[in-house]
């Protein structure tokens, strides 16, 4: 499938219907997720702040997923010098940064009433902040170098080095003493969360992933159009 989509024409044909389809699936998942989230009873410990979890956890998961996509696309762009992979990497970065900002902001708004602090230099929070800095560094590096090919290679190396941060984020709650709660969904013995919270959380998580998929495909399309326009402009200037 990846080999087939590596052809920009085939990718544009595929993404033309796949992007709106992913968007529609995202809406179909997020709408009931929001409804069930607001209908859920207050948690016995967190009270109604549990409703922040339905937007915080999916944002955090999507921010990491987006970075994995950025890293994967950067690998193909760097090793195989694939222009479409480079376009996909460039398209993923601002979306990943936006989801990371959401994870940090919503986490902070949950932390203030529950922990008594907007921010703590905890391993999980700090590693997610590093993730945001990696996204911003990637975007800044691409913008700072005029030669797009060089900029793409330099940014791809940064993206690949930054992949090491993903397992650090995931295992930070196990490796260090952390104020942040540990893994409560994907754990041996099953989730620790009651179904009344788990179902809206699952719907929202899947909805966020499909929303990212729709936006990523559309931004990659925009990047392909941009490169096509620039190439045509150069040709026109040379005539």
């Amino acid at each position: 499938m990846f080999a087939a989509l590596a052809n920009p024409h085939r990718f544009m044909g595929f993404s033309r219907w796949a992007a709106p389809l992913c968007g529609a699936v995202a809406i179909a998942l997020i709408a009931p997720g929001l409804w069930l989230g607001f209908a859920a009873p207050p948690d016995y410990q967190q009270g109604t702040t549990v409703r922040i979890m339905f937007i915080h956890v999916p944002a955090a998961q999507t921010s990491m997923f987006a970075y994995a996509c950025l890293g994967g696309a950067s690998f193909f762009a760097l090793v195989f010098r694939h222009a479409l992979a480079d376009a996909a990497a460039r398209a993923a970065a601002p979306l990943g940064a936006a989801f990371t900002v959401l994870a940090l902001v919503t986490g902070s708004l949950w932390g203030r009433p529950m922990w008594g602090a907007w921010w703590v230099w905890d391993a999980r929070l700090t590693s997610v902040l590093v993730l945001l800095l990696l996204y911003l560094g990637y975007i800044a590096l691409r913008a700072a170098i005029d030669d797009e090919a060089k900029a793409g290679r330099a940014a791809a190396i940064l993206a690949l080095v930054g992949l090491i941060n993903l397992p650090i984020i995931y295992f930070s709650v196990d490796w260090w003493n952390s104020l942040h709660q540990g893994e409560s969904i994907f754990r041996p013995g099953g989730p620790l969360i009651a179904p009344v919270f788990l179902i809206p959380l699952g719907l929202m998580s899947l909805g966020y992933l499909f929303a990212f998929g729709a936006l990523w495909l559309e931004r990659t399309r925009a990047e392909v159009w941009r490169r096509r326009a620039q190439s045509l402009a150069v040709q026109a200037a040379g005539r």
Partner: protein
């Protein structure tokens, strides 16, 4: 929902709505803009 935590919950949902709105609008605007430009240049090249 108007309990003592509403002051934290609504800003969280508001920030999420704003960021999603930015992502959707910026993505559609970029895609449509570059597509229009590329198609115009293709037409110029053909003529």
């Amino acid at each position: 929902m108007s309990d003592k935590y509403a002051v934290f919950i609504w800003p969280a949902y508001g920030a999420t709505a704003l960021v999603f709105a930015w992502m959707v609008i910026d993505t559609i605007r970029r895609s449509a803009g570059w597509r229009r430009k590329a198609e115009r240049l293709e037409k110029d090249e053909a003529s």
